[in-house]
């Protein structure tokens, strides 16, 4: 344990360098550069809230729908980008893994950090929408990093599992993109949560159960509580968020550790 911490410390500059490489390459040679990280969620928000606001007949007087949407979408995009990037990271890092000794978990972890940096840039867009839609400021907004942290730990855990398995089964890349789409619709992002609460019949029952076991629902809900409703979730929700993160991180670490010695034969 102490040994692996030392190794981590030794290679933390690498983590920093790889992340900054990704950031540099992403924005190099684009005229607007970083502005894309802000423009992209803003444009998505305008299109989707217009369409779904009308389709679902959201009552804008009781729910600040644009703010509701962009907060949820920002967090989900982070999760989706981090896991998608991470799952192929070991394969793309193959040229390095074959030639130098590097702790291999650096690669999925780096992709999660890169997405975290992007998330922080996208937060500017969230702030813009919140100012524009006149969300009442509250001290709970200072806690915005708490749900991000929970979600980050969860994303790292999922990324470790995915990146290790993808080395053996490349199909997972395609499967995961489908799963993410399904997952997005099963998380209250483009529809208000009240829609699910009011749903009747068996399908409503099933939807409610699915959302209750969906970790992302708790992260997104936490994020919205502190940013737009000025409330701090109670101990129970904190424990649930922490639990999901910790369990997946441990499973991820175990799976990765078990599979990593044979990576080199498959990349």
């Amino acid at each position: 344990m102490k040994g692996s911490l030392q190794v981590f410390k030794k290679y933390s500059p690498l983590l920093y360098d790889l992340t900054s490489r990704d950031v540099k390459i992403k924005y190099r040679r684009s005229v607007l550069g970083l502005a894309w990280s802000i423009l992209n969620p803003l444009l998505m928000m305008i299109v989707l809230t217009t369409v779904f606001g009308h389709l679902l007949k959201v009552d804008m007087t009781t729910l600040n729908f644009p703010v509701y949407f962009i907060i949820g979408n920002t967090m989900f995009s982070f999760f989706s980008e981090a896991t998608t990037g991470a799952m192929t990271s070991v394969i793309y890092g193959g040229s390095l893994i074959k030639k130098v000794y590097i702790p291999k978990y650096i690669f999925p972890l780096e992709k999660c950090l890169f997405s975290l940096v992007n998330l922080l840039f996208s937060m500017i867009a969230v702030v813009i929408v919140m100012l524009f839609r006149q969300v009442t400021p509250s001290w709970t907004m200072l806690l915005f990093f708490v749900p991000i942290l929970y979600c980050f730990v969860f994303a790292v855990g999922v990324s470790l599992i995915l990146s290790a398995l993808t080395v053996y089964f490349r199909d997972l890349m395609h499967l995961w993109s489908i799963l993410l789409t399904v997952w997005m619709y099963l998380t209250p992002i483009i529809y208000p949560m009240s829609l699910i609460e009011d749903a009747t019949g068996l399908s409503g029952q099933i939807l409610r159960t699915v959302i209750q076991i969906n970790p992302l629902y708790y992260f997104v809900d936490y994020f919205r509580s502190v940013l737009m409703f000025g409330t701090v979730p109670g101990l129970q929700q904190n424990l649930i968020c922490f639990g999901f993160g910790a369990v997946f991180l441990i499973i991820g670490a175990l799976v990765f550790k078990k599979l990593q010695n044979r990576f080199i034969l498959h990349i």
Partner: protein, 244 residues
């Protein structure tokens, strides 16, 4: 005794499961599993290899293509885990297995120097201190801020060599890399390696250029199909190898 050994390789075996074809999809995997066609061929790349390399030695490894030289180097540097046996390494290792591994061609040379330094596990401070030395040695100052994709392979190799040799590692692993660059730069590389040797660094060299091995090494190991054929001082082994 072990204090004086830089590397101790003990009964190392390296097996590869060579599946006849690479199965990369679930469907293929399950179809084969159902038909019970998941056969693997056991390929032994290293078979009970044992060798002790004392500190400060210059150790050469010779053998034909596919005899397991590079596999052995990878096992020593920790890239591969041996199937059986153990490897004990005393001190830090700088692998020169392939120059410029980990360069990102989209980045500039300046950015790549720092990236590659951290790939090799150097700290930021070390890199900042040695940055000028690296640039000086590689003679690339004027192209420092050009993207690496515009470099020639010789230029890439120069920077790679300069980075890998800035610190004085306890063990330096050299795999066929002295064949890059023009003769002027090759001489410069050899000078730097001899400099390190006199500084007490243990050097492990793999090369097909037998004259180079004869010129630089003290002891040589001859590998044949993953087995140790001969270990001894440079003239005996090299003569036997040349005669075979």
């Amino acid at each position: 005794m072990t204090q004086q050994l830089a590397v101790q390789v003990k009964d190392v075996e390296m097996h590869f499961n060579m599946s006849k074809e690479k199965l990369e999809s679930f469907k293929e995997y399950f179809v084969k599993l159902m038909k019970r066609q998941l056969y693997f061929e056991d390929f032994v790349a290293l078979d009970k290899v044992s060798v002790d390399i004392p500190k400060g030695d210059v150790f050469g490894i010779v053998g034909l293509n596919g005899s397991g030289k590079s596999t052995l180097l990878k096992v020593i540097s920790g890239i591969l885990k041996p199937t059986k046996g153990s490897v004990t390494v005393n001190g830090s290792i700088a692998p020169l297995i392939e120059l410029g591994a980990g360069f990102d061609m989209e980045l500039t040379a300046r950015e790549n120097i720092f990236l590659n330094g951290s790939v090799l596990g150097y700290s930021r401070k070390q890199m900042k201190e040695r940055f000028d030395e690296i640039v000086e040695f590689s003679e690339m100052r004027e192209f420092l801020d050009a993207p690496m994709k515009n470099y020639s392979s010789g230029m890439v190799a120069r920077i790679g060599f300069a980075i890998a040799t800035i610190t004085r590692p306890d063990i330096l692993i050299v795999d066929e890399i002295l064949a890059v660059g023009d003769f002027h730069f090759q001489e410069k590389c050899e000078r730097r390696i001899s400099e390190m040797m006199s500084g007490g660094t243990t050097v492990i060299i793999v090369s097909h250029a037998i004259e180079q091995i004869e010129r630089l090494c003290k002891h040589v190991m001859w590998l044949e199909r993953g087995k140790v054929k001969m270990i001894g001082d440079v003239t005996t082994v090299c003569n036997a190898y040349k005669e075979s």
